[in-house]
Symmetry: D3
Subunit: 338 residues, 6 copies
């Protein structure tokens, strides 16, 4: 059995309905998310076999999170419990020119106090063929960085594919490690890079611009510096405003450059987790397509999955394989399924 | 008193709020609908006198459906009750490129087991001047087909106008009758055809394309084959995506062709029942306009009513005559009514 | 791994909030339930390993039901899908002297059309040590009766414990089999009888009254007639009104009679599934207690679980082992857990 | 066709859910009510043929009120519209020892500005056999008093039964008429008196106490003073607190005294409109029972209907004839209807 | 301490969620608003010190309104209470080509019966430096007109800035005063005019068109006729439909003309109170900007505040100074705040 | 102006509606609370002038908390902001024999990191005449203990009344200070002791039982050991189950013992904050009653306020002085306020 492994924090997201601020509300909705979990659930919803590894609180909130993961049929057997609370984030969703706002309560959460000794990586990766990580995990705490590193080293030793989404968020990384150095260590265990110019400049210390030519150049340099990496995938978002975006993707797979057309997302329902939906679609695509056009098709699949996520409220992409393929086939008019 | 008669199944529609899937929800909203009922309520909301004939369950769900029909002041005195359950459909509303999905639980419903002996057509049509039917009813069961046929034969005998919306839905028609033959019988009792190229091709066995010229040609052939039919009205939908459509209409009334401008429906609230709103507007228009421009005006009225339905959640068009006329007069900017 | 197996229909329950009727509502809540499933989830919530076997619709409603079962970490791998709809029931919850009302839409559901060939019993029972069935399943259709019978025969052959809750509901059993005969066949495969005087009179053709003495007499006769049965457990409900019940239990285990004190449930939240909670508590108790007092303790555990279910909305008992044990220990004052 | 006529104000009731105050809420529920309307709908829900006469606003709120009345299949053809707003009342529901609070916004409402010329009583009462009025209507304005008086005079002339519920509410009666005089005029047109010691003392100018003996004495005096009145019915409420009441009834029908047992309403859902439910049950009972025990049976029916109303949220008694008869038959344990 | 004073009615707004009509709903949301209050709260949310003066009902609805104002930290110490009800308005929000509809119940409200003697203006304006009024207040009743006039005379005597938004609404002004004369009196106490061609034509008795040249000419004439007025600001709305507007502003400050670019508001959440948000932004801007570009910057600030209000449900602009400045700086893409 | 000062953490409470667990929910309600804040708001709702001092997060959650406090017209001018998140607690409300459960996320909250230097006590207490503290604050962190101590020392120096509710919660006190020593220091600054046998035993190191005699003895010893304390008030709760409690109070004021009758709270809406409501009622009573019966009356007032809090959802007692006095006067039947 060939499992995709995701490792990262599970956060409880709390937000008022629609476009309300908290100050306008007394009822709120809650979901569970977290960038790596979003990728995991997204792949499971497409039909993949996914194990998510994390540390959650040993209380009724943790139980609720666990039931949420089980609902999507994730393998939750490697999850550990702690007496620290689950991390929480509060979200106010914007509209038109008003941006969304997020406030985190995660700095002493169950996950941020994880330690390498708490995860039995040998057992956890027993059935694993793919490992996905992001730049959020090493940014949270020394323990989460080291636990991840231990997992990645074993994953590479076992020859697993490792996809990296080294998103750099400057508000994190408060525990005394240099982000560039930490990410460098982790990228040396990775085979697929999911990120854009900003992420490449961050780890390369370069200053490339956003053109396709510079993207190719940066990708080549990245692959040179991190020889385990073989492909680079980038998702580009154009924001007309908070409610209307356009999405496209491009890639350099070491041999050729390719890019997709824009998806025009005229009425955004929820923008959270759309990058994770891209990563999930890409991983699923790379696992299932074959032949010469494999990378291109995977990227198209990923773009469609990403576009569809904008129509689901919550962190999670509820989209199914049929919905994605229909979009990939060019059917974006949304005619009824009966 | 001159009554419009509608005959068809009443379904309970159950759907999560907004664009949610069932898997994301634990609260749902319910409405009652059904294509012929939607037409009937729509006409009643415009001020018409409407009797709806159907068979509903003899339980609290049937009572709730009945109260729903009464609320719109429909004449419900000819409704019969059965110990079979009311049909149900589940709807997940899409957004942008994600299509809406429907799942039906209607195959052994109260209505599908209706028999001609259960409706007293003489009494039911006593005050009737117009009868509207659709292609859904004959597709459900032998009993519903035959009950409808009996009603239509009497309606024509009494000289009533009969409007037909012979929507062909291939997922139905499972009881062993040939759709084309059944529809042919029923169209021979009809005077107004509401449908497009697909519907005409279905009953004519032809292969016309979508151009205006082919529409005219098809209409002429239809009228030739079904001499009771005197006018053909067609509603054309252009889908930018699930959330953004354009609507226009065209007609051939035996003498002239006419078409309307597009209505641009940029933010769809609910797309269900919009075709029924067109039919209702058309019937109401044909009943109330006079003179040379009667057909054109009725079609414009119908298009405006159809466009407005996209702004109401539920199967039913809550629009009033004032709202429609304001749109017909070209006022689509939506300035306040105080 | 020792699994408890439950087999039976999964129904979608739809009901207005609080004590509303449908006619007062336009928003409703939905849950999934079904008597055997309720037992299964209840055991899983207590910490048991449970596999539920059923047939559900192959649409988004079926997917939602499946996610619901997964949420409680049931083993859903033996579930089959069908193109028939999931059964639905509508519930209006009463209050004080107003009774609750139920209306079913299940007669042609996915489950009612199950056939023995659709379930691979050998594989499904591979890890099974306990099988629980109820009188609802054989009452639905010939297929469901025969599929159950096949499963029970194998279960007994494998030496599994088989608990029977042969609830007799006269509104069902419409497919031409004699209830008494069918239940007799199934009881001959059973080891634990969960039921009261009514159920025993039904299968014995007797007319015992409700006293403890007659309960003992009836139990002895039952055990005589069905030698595989070794213990009889009965739950007794005293209704002050719809909102206030008292619950107690009694048993005859072949050797001794025992009964519990009344639990006084002064403010009922939801009465559905409380009998199933009793059965689940009993099974769990019989699986975990030892020694002389095993049966008595299991019955006390079952009564407490049953009482607690009255405080949870929905079909399912969300109660945990800690909550039950606290009640068993006599702590019914509901002081805070911090 | 024999119609029951009710005449009185339709109010929009707005209240937070459950036991919340407005200051705790930003979502509220709305219903329509009014004491005479509540009686009318209650009778219609029992199966009676009811016409409600009133004056409502000519705006979308009035349309919504009208649809609400139609929903219960009331005859709304005699309702008049005005450019004044519909009356509104705000309700905060108490609990335990906290009382409910009401705030009215009705003093210049559509109904309070009704004039005798606005109602065509001849036409309105054409099919009428029973007229019900309450002491609220004459208390609102000169116009409403005079319009009611005109209707009652005609009702008596036509020999209709007239039931009076002359509830005296001192906060009203602000338009310069003496309540006692006005009620005296109206009671001289009435045949059934629904009220207790307080109401009799008010119109008789007496000071009777609450004992059964004094009730009989007061009733005799009332019948002596108002010879058209033939029967007196009284409903007695004992409040343990806001959430728990007991209800019983007594009567003097000119020949004999009779009283019912207490109904113990342990978990009140909504107390508004319970007196109206008693009146409605009484009228329905008097219309349908025969023989010597007619009055007693009607009173028992009325008490049961009143008790059941406490289980429905809103002003309206949703109870059906079956529910009432079941209670009358002594079945108050609230066992399931399947 | 330098306070901005607003004076005007507080209304309770009641509306169904989303785009529903009342006839589709049984749950509604409520807010408090009123044009001058909206301006006051908007300024407070930007950080200003605001006192709102009004008369509200002395019941739990009035208490709720008061708590609402306190929530935004308004100075409510000058508010008076009355035994009349608070004014109410019902709102149905349109969509696309369907307009929103409003129905008022305010004609005998607490505020409309205010009298000059009820407000202690000396004390109320003690800390005041700015007074804002609109054309709604003098339109309601003689008392509200005269109370306002008294306040404005004192405000001018104290040398306060007085901004006037003389919105003319013909449905009001029913108490026998000539609108033009009343507004003229009040404008002679004002220093800033916030209004467009329609408002200027109304008070000047002219017939200017909408071009910028005519706007300048009209402004010059206005300033000539009302010498206390020194600046004119106008907000221009272009409605594509109910859901999509464009907003821009222009001004004449006695010396120069200036106008802003259009803001494109593609997905309107709530259009109520957007004019008030413009006035509030303008007042705040004029109070905080300095130098040559003060007026232009204030107008840009006002336009951005107005545009942002379209994204908040309710009458009130919840926008903060940071959100406005971000838009003024040209950032309308709505990227996340983390 | 004579202000009551409260000092303590503001927590966001998040809980599912009714009796649901989180695992059953996806919508939750939020409130703000905290034991000292609850006392403060309760006093403000009774009409008192209250200043609450605390440290809250400097984000939109903190803004929402601030608006919540402002809503009740608390003086919030001494509140400080921090870049740490606001504390959160999750609550699942039980029913009948099921207890409520709480899970905290407060250990690194904004308040727990408060330091004495952050509060300007001289300025904050300028108008203060009463200071209320509880045992939660010193239990949270060294900073909160020391900040409180500094405030209390000043309060006593100024001769303010100081009420102490030294609730001992063993789950807190994790920062290395001995609870008994810390509470001893703080009690030496206090004048009124609100607590029972457990609290007295904790600080006295004794082992008194629950009888009235032992209560008096313990109180005498307490007053001997803490000479600043002059009165002891105790609230006694008898739990029938989670939904039904009885409440009474007793006191020793140095001269006499007195106790109240039980309040029977048959249908609890929300039990959180009821102890705080007792303290608030007591403080308000002691501030407003005079003469010999002052203490007894204050205790009766406190008991009634406490009983009423059980009818309000949320942490806060929304009860008004009129509601309390009505109960004190013996009116617990909850008849309507119109």
């Amino acid at each position: 059995m060939s499992q995709t492994i995701t490792f990262g924090e599970v956060l409880m997201r709390i937000s008022p309905r629609g476009n309300r601020k908290f100050i306008q509300s007394n009822t709120v909705e809650f979901y569970f998310g977290g960038t790596e979990l979003n990728v995991g659930i997204s792949i499971a919803n497409l039909g993949g076999n996914v194990k998510h590894i994390t540390c959650i609180s040993d209380d009724f909130i943790g139980n609720t999170a666990l039931a949420y993961l089980n609902k999507f049929d994730l393998d939750t057997t490697a999850i550990v419990r702690s007496n620290r609370p689950l991390g929480v984030y509060f979200l106010e969703v914007g509209a038109v020119m008003r941006p969304s706002s997020i406030s985190y309560n995660r700095s002493h959460s169950a996950f941020s106090e994880i330690k390498p000794s708490m995860v039995d990586w040998e057992k956890s990766l027993a059935d694993g063929s793919w490992f996905h990580w992001t730049g959020i995990t090493p940014a949270l705490s020394k323990g989460s960085f080291e636990t991840l590193k231990e997992g990645l080293l074993l994953a590479r030793k076992k020859g697993m594919c490792v996809s990296a989404d080294p998103t750099y968020r400057s508000g994190l990384w408060n525990y005394g490690v240099d982000p560039k150095e930490a990410l460098t260590e982790l990228l040396h265990c990775s085979t697929i890079f999911i990120g854009g110019i900003n992420e490449m400049n961050e780890v390369l210390g370069t200053d490339f611009g956003y053109s396709n030519d510079e993207f190719i150049e940066a990708s080549k340099l990245l692959i040179e510096k991190f020889p385990s990496i073989v492909k680079v995938f980038d998702k580009i978002r154009t924001s007309i405003n908070s409610s209307w975006h356009k999405i496209r993707a491009r890639m350099w797979n070491g041999k050729k450059f390719c890019e997709t057309e824009d998806f025009d997302i005229t009425h955004i329902v929820d923008r959270i987790g759309t990058g994770d939906a891209f990563a999930a679609g890409l991983i699923y695509g790379l696992q299932h397509y074959d032949g010469d056009t494999k990378d291109t098709k995977a990227m198209q699949f990923a773009s469609a999955a990403c576009a569809l996520k904008h129509t689901y409220v919550g962190d999670v992409n509820y989209t199914t394989i049929d919905e994605v393929l229909r979009i990939v086939d060019g059917n974006v008019t949304g005619r009824f399924n009966r």
